[in-house]
Amino acid sequence: MPSVQLNSHSENAEKKHIEHALLPFLQSQSQNTLTRLYQRPSSCLSLFRLLEPVERQIIMSLLWLESAIPQSTMNTWVNREGRKLYDEAIATLGRLNILPTNLTNKLALNTTFKMSFRQALTGGGTSGSFGVPAENDDKSPAQDLESLDSFALERWETILHYMVSSGTEQQPTKPSQGVLYLLQRSGLMSTFQGVLRITSAGFQFLLHSPHDQLWDLLLQYLHLAEERQMDLVEVLGFIFMLSTMELGKEYSTENLSGTQKAMLEDLRDYGLIWQRKPTSRRFSPTRLATTLTSASPPLPTSSGNSSGPQEGFIILETNYRVYAYTDNPLQTAVLNLFVSLKYRFPNLVVGSITRESVRKALANGITADQIISYLMSHAHPQMRKNNPLLPVTVQDQIRLWELERNRLKSQEGYLYTAFASQADYEFVLHYAKELDVVLWENASRRCFFGTLGGHANIKGFIERRAMGSNQ
């Protein structure tokens, strides 16, 4: 039996090394786009915060140097055991065009980035990249934090709730057309017999943290913007600007570009900004927007009600029982993905993790790891006293149920057999191995199994050989 014990500590340590979802996207952009993006101080600051700690320190160390410094000088500051991390950091910064690679073996920041980021730290300039505050208006004062939070929460949960209850009899509120299109476009939902249904990617999405979900969607939005020929620099610049804004303040739309004004509607649909009415000339960022580059929770209280501490609400016992202190329909619906629910009380849902419920989740494309990490991240404070956090028996069993489903692995292809001689067999096998299409071989039986894709090549090879020997 495989030992699948996990302690929450190593899990956390692993998570830290995963780079931010936005970075691969940025690295795929042209140097020109990146340099244009770095013209705005707010973009530099926000991007800086998405980087790894070592990368941030390298940028800071180089920021105030006027001339390039030799790599060897910088290397003397690196401890031997940190060497690998440091080299990786330098490489990432190179790909982001923050630390352009050059032939002279010297390190110097991208000049545009350097100027903008210096300006971000010292203030000044005329870029207005941190958002132009709207004039105070006595007739319509700014929204208070509470109503902003509840607006963001309502928008966000509408999207998630729509996803989780698609394909069931429930008829939740539909999000706007723009959101539906984005969900479809990102492959989180797809049309099945004329009805929009959640996909297995969608199920996995539901178990992510709100922060990851938000960036997932924004990333899809960026891809969409690329297709729509929108200027990525404008789109990203606006998102980054939102992340540096102050919660509870109103900003003017006057200084926004055409692209950015067009984004207002989409961002309103996602709950990132609030506007009194669509034509309003002012907008307020919500907590979803202002926490984009931070670790603080993007949603005020993940369920917006008074049912106890919201950072964790699930108690899992060794007998597979699950007690979830929530009255939030979305959380209940998400739990329902892998828990068979038994009783429902005003502030409590009771269910148990069973073989059937987990198999249903696995069939939906959710993995055992995702179930376990969801349970961990939403564990009730009371559970946090346990070490390991979740009962090991339950964790192991969920993983075993997953293994059980994969007892049979099938690969389509061709079985090559009845070779005339051993030499013949080895000759063809050698060729197939070079193509890397061999799935199984047995020399004593003189046969091997090749993939479907490799068949045409092998067939051609054998025919050419046969023709050659005939002549």
């Binding site: 069973t354 073989r355 059937e356 059980e404 007892r407 049979l408 692995k409 099938s410 690969q411 389509e412 292809g413 061709y414 079985l415 090559y416 057999t417 009845a418 070779f419 005339a420 013949d424 063809v428 799935l439 199984w440 047995n442 039986r445 046969c447 199994f449 068949h455 092998i458 067939k459 054998i462």
Partner: protein, 64 residues
């Protein structure tokens, strides 16, 4: 030399035995390769998976 189109199933020894017994009822195995591999006819894959599932299901017990 012959090339036969089919599906390579990789499985554990226990599942392999169940497959062999199922094969006696209705033949679908093209070639029995070794303890962990067997080649079957492509068109039977879905049915074999279903049958195997229900066979394995007979050996599981739930608390309810």
């Amino acid at each position: 030399m012959r090339a036969i189109k089919g599906i390579l199933l990789t499985c554990d020894a226990a599942v392999k035995q169940i497959l062999l017994i199922m094969n006696e009822k209705e033949s679908f195995i093209i070639e029995d390769l070794d303890d962990h591999h067997v080649v079957i006819k492509a068109e039977h894959e879905w049915r074999v998976r279903q049958d195997l599932e229900s066979e394995l299901e007979k050996n599981t017990y739930s608390v309810d």
